[in-house]
Amino acid sequence: MNEPQIRERLRDAIGEVSYPPGLTAGAVARLKGPSPERHPRAIGLIAAVITLAVIAALMGPRLLGLQSTITPRPHAAATQAPLPAPTPDVFAWIPPGDFDAAGLSTATALVTPLNLVATNGQAKVTLIGAYADPARTVLLFRTNGSRLPMDVSVGDDQGGAINASSSAGGGLTGEYYYSLDGGPRPGPDGLAHLTARIPGMTPETFSFSLNVQPSVAITAVPQQLNIGSWKVTIEAAEITPSVIHIQAFIDGASVSDTGPSTISLVDARGPAPFSAYSASVTVPKQQLNSATYKSTRMNAQWRRSTSTSTYQLTFTGGGGAQTFNFQVDAPDPAAMLPRKGEGLTPKPTDFPEAKESLNLQGFLNTMITVGRPNSCGAGGGSQGTLFAFGLFLEVDGTWYTLSFYTDPSVKQYGGPGTYSARAQLFDASSQRLYDGIVQLTITQDAHRQGPNSGSVRGTLDQVGTATQAQHLSISGSWSCTPGMALGPG
């Protein structure tokens, strides 16, 4: 047997896999957690638990009003403990990294904190929070170092298990999220009464109640449309507090006729990556025949942006394509708890405007004529003297930060001239999108007396998967005036 034959046989045996969309975010969030040997959060956590217990004791009677609407369950289960409504302090109980990993950054205030514990010998699993909207059900778990058992199942009291695809991933140390791409059904009291079952643990079932957060319909997308030979019924086109959600029934397409390229969402930054995608047959497999085979239900979700964005939604297939444009407003500020330090960061508009002439091509295709410099001038660092220039720039309503600084390890800054400089583009949440080395020319360095100016030329490489374009090219001239708030980098 030769190598290609061996390769083929082994690949058949192992099977093919697709990369989970949340893995990169999970790995990055895991980095931000302290190592297990030194866990500074532990003390804060104990304090938080004590605080929550005291608040719960004080506010218990009021909160128990909600609890009393829940029908007691006959089986042994850990039931919802009364906890205060989410406040910024909730971050002491559920760290921001967990929200980020679970795709709940835009809905932190809508997560219900819980404290339901199950054990098995030394292993301990705590359900620390949960969230639901029409498109998602998300549970946040903490373990005492064990991994989360794999066989979690979630159901409601309106029809048993929630039938949806699921994903799981890690947040911080020993913490996991479990996400179903489907929402629970609320009961007559307006609350969803959920059970999460973890086989092998005692108790085996957690019972708790959640508000199902409302969604807003995307009216630009019609309920029925024809795409080539396909007849598409839009079952859901909505914006929830955490995702943009499209569910479609496609008559005329088998599952294998469809794929992630069937539906795409594009904003000013390029195609948005899916946070969830699935396509499935619409009848039980036993009922599949030549007629039912050619129908598919597709569920697609994308995480919401933290700012107002304009989107282009395109369906492609059946020999045709249709595109719809719509705008998604920035999330309700009340849905997002302020994080430590937020509110202290200067806003782009805090910095004065300056004339620029920067041509951006690739990820952004625009000519920047006005920017708001946030760093300007030369200064000393640990490796010597460098020159830094950075600015906020606005493209289609979205703010970015572009920064340049000369590399003193390559060449010390010694006045006007051309230098090799590190260039980076960040989005509004300070996520680095592009990075590279460019040629930065400083034509005029007036120190603190007047404007500095020069030119720049070079190409930055894509960083991560938040954008689609591989490169961002920058050329043109820049200017900035040093001021009190503008240091060198």
């Binding site: 030769n2 082994l10 045996a13 192992i14 190592s35 990075d435 960083v463």
Partner: protein, 177 residues
């Protein structure tokens, strides 16, 4: 002197810049995940292993030689993490061999020969399974396989040969690269 972006990032990461480290490892994560799935046969276990491995890689990045190749270095950590996971309590409780066999038998769409091969693959010792996953599931050169395993290229080939023989996939002479 021309400095590549990768060199700059390694330098920054060694100086403690976490974001630079993320930029370095991010392109390797799909292959790392593939390696973990191949070793652990479970998507969710593989995610855990990759996350833990990335965390450990960052924690020990100070030991990374700036002129070394990051890919085999990271893959070694992922492989070690997979070995750790298989020894853990949850694995033993939930993923015993019986569980695997039941799972395979239920999958009627896979032909019996492929099912047998899958079972045989997962019964191989860790090091033999690892060499096959690296070579045939990740398409690494024998040189990269050797670097990941910390052995010579000749030893990597010999180990591959022995593992294939054990699976009764009698190989022709393995190519020189």
């Amino acid at each position: 002197m021309e400095v590549s972006l990768a060199q700059v990032l390694v330098q920054d990461a060694l100086a403690g810049d976490e974001q630079a480290f993320v930029l370095l490892v991010e392109p390797l994560l799909p292959a790392a995940y593939r390696l973990a799935v191949g070793m652990l046969r479970s998507d969710s276990d593989a995610e855990d292993a990759v996350q833990e491995a990335v965390f450990k890689a960052w924690k020990h990045f100070g030991r990374f030689r700036r002129d070394a190749d990051l890919k085999p270095w990271l893959f070694t950590i992922v492989a070690n993490e997979c070995r750790q996971q298989r020894r853990s309590r949850w694995w033993n409780v939930l993923k015993g061999t019986d569980h695997l066999e039941g799972q395979v038998e239920r999958n009627a769409s896979v032909d019996p020969a492929t099912q047998d091969l899958r079972l045989a693959l997962y019964r191989l010792p860790h090091n033999q399974r690892l060499v096959l996953i690296l070579r045939y599931y990740l398409d690494l050169s024998f040189n990269d396989v050797a670097q990941t395993l910390g052995i010579s290229t000749k030893a990597a080939k010999a180990r591959t040969y022995r593992a294939l023989e054990r699976l009764r996939l009698s190989p022709e002479v393995l190519p020189d690269e």
